[in-house]
Symmetry: C2
Subunit: 508 residues, 2 copies
């Protein structure tokens, strides 16, 4: 038996303990690899798990069958110090394997998994604030290495820190190709042995999760989705559960994993509301690390008061209503989909870059978080989506053709440099559509949408002095206003859309 | 006694019948002028009215005191032919005056008053369709002749066919000047004799109503409003009723009059809901011609299911919800205020011209009607609104500085040249935000907002051929698409905001 710290290399080794001092960084994967029988159906016949201990801290983690007689148990230690483990199994050869390792402090670029912080926000496990600025490449992991490489190259520019992606392959306009691999043994389109997973399929996804992690990007994994011609949207409960247990065992030790029960859950007529409640509960019970859990809607927003949902994952383009949803759900509000920058025939993929950027600003300055997507076609004349060979970012990844991503990064930098989590300070009314967020009385960020005020009144505390900066969210400029301000102040503005004010207390 | 056909000239004449054959155009004003006593308080002591007859048609119309011992009874005949009348009064000298006149056919430019047509639309009394494209100059009648002349000059360009205007003077930012005249005898600010009107005040308003009529513009008269420092918003019920009866007697014979109970009724804490119901009822009972009646809200939309309201007068910027409001109220839906093109510090007066134009198109292509307003300041630096000498169109009239009015006229021309009233054909969903209206299967107008589709699918009837034109609502261009279309068609588009499609059946 041997142990490794990352899951990128696949080592096939005998189950013999090593005596060397093994070290694993906090929040990285410690993996036990066991050689066992490959006869019968190891996916369903064999159970294997390990009990991990570090003083009083104990954790039991399920393993999984990775093919070729190899069983793996993956563990993400959340505490430094000496850990020991012992395996349990219904198969003798996998039982009572013991070992130990040292969990060392996390490196500077490892902040651990993201958790909910102060009701409405997120932080990494090491307390560093995390502000989601996500994007969407639903089927990027199913497009082969060459396109994935290009996708990762695009992502390396740091526009985004979250990726929504489907575990199952996708069937939809601009995504009519077959995936390179299938999740089950069998033959397309629909002759699957739902009791036998295809390990290579999941190994590929693990590789992508790890690649995203190395870029500082959270992997928001979509467990089910309705865009399917292979039958994966209509598996029975037993298969669904087997699949969920399998992906938890495989993926949960990756610190950057989030669980999204579905994309557009309400467009999946094959599932009932009871199914969704069951899945949410299953993840809550089985994931040893309590990764973030969400469920994304089509037209009918899920009831996010469900206490097992960690955050509200919303599809809707009224991102300025984030504040209302905060009040309603008492959770972080993430508009994972608010339509995409693009030019396709479908109305959800037609936004100008300006509109996309505006939706980000309105969401963020109302206390929410917003997700990006891009749907540009390039063929001339445009073809029907199911006949087109265009590669659209939203579906396959590749390159970005739009203009919003740079502005999203600009906003991300502004939010990340704020002195703390920002809370909404303006009550939204249609006739008072501007938004503002603040940190205590130290910092205000006001946003005036696509309107063109030539002045604005700001009501600042009387007792302090403030400096005022005019931001243009489109031009990506930040300009200081001459003077110091306090109380009710009329600020002269440039009469341009995308105006925001950053107001910072002067400490004397 | 003498009779005149228009109310612009003020003739002071003895109450002696003339024998000459008097002619009045249908829907113009026939006015009886009677000389009577000026002692006591004629405004409250004297009642005078006339019974008009044309065969079986009978109508009783109240008169009013116009100062200097002059009493007037104004009548708008709605039927051609020979009319006779006889007066009634509690004062002997005004009683039993008889006369007759011939009502002749309306001239080509006289279409009569506007009425509701086919539940959701408007037409003139002669059946010519009327599509409201309104603007707002709340206090233009109180700014003196020179500015009024400029306002009328601006309006003569034909951008608009309705004007929202207050009867009482206005007190608000950019409108802190005293009016030239006051509606009651007494002294400003608040020492009014509420039992004595100032006829010159109302004569001035009548002049403006007639000037608007000569430009083909409906006068949407606002009876009460909250922007007041003189006490007119907080008169008692008895005074309110006296005032309403007086303005009905004076103004109702002008064919282009509409009654708007209030601007922002819900911002008038001085009035109760029962007051508003009472006023609506009073107009319905007392106006002999049943002019259109509306009530305009601040934040709380009035319950327009009230059967005495002829149309829904809405303040809200979500003009795309016109279709919902049609279903709710079963009436014409007029967004009289959806924020204004401008650059002021208040969020309701900050729209870019682009946003204003977009709100018009979204309203109209969802089966509603939309109103314009403009609030540009020019001073540099900008002053507080209550210190500024800027003249803003929305308040005082004058000139237009914006860019929306030409585009509104462009849309108006498109709608007026449609083959009939357009009804909504797309159900609005946030993820399907486009709108379309149609006339039977003959004509479709689809609008794609500020999005940038490079193609769109249109679902046309299979059995006919259609020609397709691409409209750009901002550039004001209409471009034919090559070919003829039927069934489900993918139309290539220019990937620009403000794209609309006009689709017309080819009759072969």
């Amino acid at each position: 038996m041997k142990i490794r710290q990352t899951t990128i290399l696949v080592l096939l080794l005998l189950a013999v303990p090593l005596v060397a001092q093994l070290k694993v960084e906090k929040w990285r994967t410690f993996e036990i690899v066991l050689k066992g029988a490959s006869g019968g159906n190891p996916f369903v016949d064999v159970q294997v798990s390990a009990d991990f201990s570090n003083g009083a801290i104990k954790k039991t983690v399920s393993g999984f069958y990775d093919g070729n007689g190899i069983y793996k148990i993956r563990f993400m230690p959340q505490e430094t110090g000496s850990w020991t483990y012992v395996t349990t199994s219904n198969v003798k050869s996998l039982r009572n394997k013991k070992g130990k390792f040292e969990c060392i402090s996390n490196a500077a670029n490892n902040h651990g998994p993201v958790v909910v912080k102060d009701t409405f926000n997120f932080a990494y496990a090491d307390n560093k604030p995390y502000y989601p600025f996500g994007t969407t490449c639903y089927a990027w992991v199913h497009q082969g290495d060459s396109l994935a490489k290009q996708t990762l190259q695009t992502l390396s520019h740091g526009y985004f820190n979250k990726m929504r992606m489907c575990i199952f392959p996708k069937d939809y306009d601009w995504n009519k190709n077959e995936p390179a691999l299938y999740p089950f043994e069998g033959k397309p389109l629909t002759a699957w042995d739902y009791t036998r997973f295809n390990p290579a399929y999941f190994q590929n996804i693990e590789k992508r999760i790890a690649q995203l992690d190395s870029l500082g990007i959270e992997a928001d994994l979509i467990v089910f989705h309705p865009y399917d011609r292979w039958g994966f949207k209509s598996m029975n409960r037993k298969t669904d559960d087997l699949y969920i247990n399998y992906i938890i065992a495989r993926f949960a030790s990756y610190k950057n994993v989030w669980w999204s029960m579905a994309n557009e859950y309400d467009f999946m007529n094959e599932k009932t509301m009871e199914d969704w409640d069951h899945f949410i509960k299953l993840f809550a019970e089985k994931d040893p690390y309590n990764h973030l859990r969400g469920i994304h809607n089509g037209s009918k927003v899920y009831d996010h008061t469900n206490p097992l949902l960690t955050h509200a994952s919303i599809q809707n383009d009224e991102t300025f209503k984030a504040k209302e949803l905060r009040r309603k759900y008492k959770k972080p509000v993430v508009y994972d989909e608010c339509r995409y920058e693009g030019n396709i025939n479908w109305s959800w993929g037609n936004l100008t870059a300006e509109e996309m950027v505006n939706k980000f600003w309105r969401g963020v300055t109302n206390g929410g978080y917003v997700g990006h997507g891009e749907t540009y076609v390039t063929e001339n004349p445009v073809k029907w989506g199911n006949e087109s060979s265009d590669v659209l970012w939203w579906s396959k990844g590749g390159v970005l053709r739009g203009q919003s991503q740079e502005r999203i990064k600009f906003l991300k930098n502004i939010i990340e440099s704020a002195p703390g989590y920002l809370r909404p300070v303006v009550n939204y009314e249609w006739w008072m559509p501007y938004s503002a967020v603040a940190y205590k009385d130290e910092y205000y960020l006001n946003y005036y949408n696509l309107d063109q005020p030539r002045s604005q009144i700001v009501n600042l505390p009387q007792k302090s002095k403030y400096k005022v900066e005019i931001i243009n969210a489109w031009d990506m400029t930040i300009t200081s206003v001459k003077g110091e301000f306090s109380g009710k102040s009329l600020i002269q503005l440039p009469q341009k859309p995308f105006t925001a004010l950053r107001i910072t207390k002067i400490n004397k």
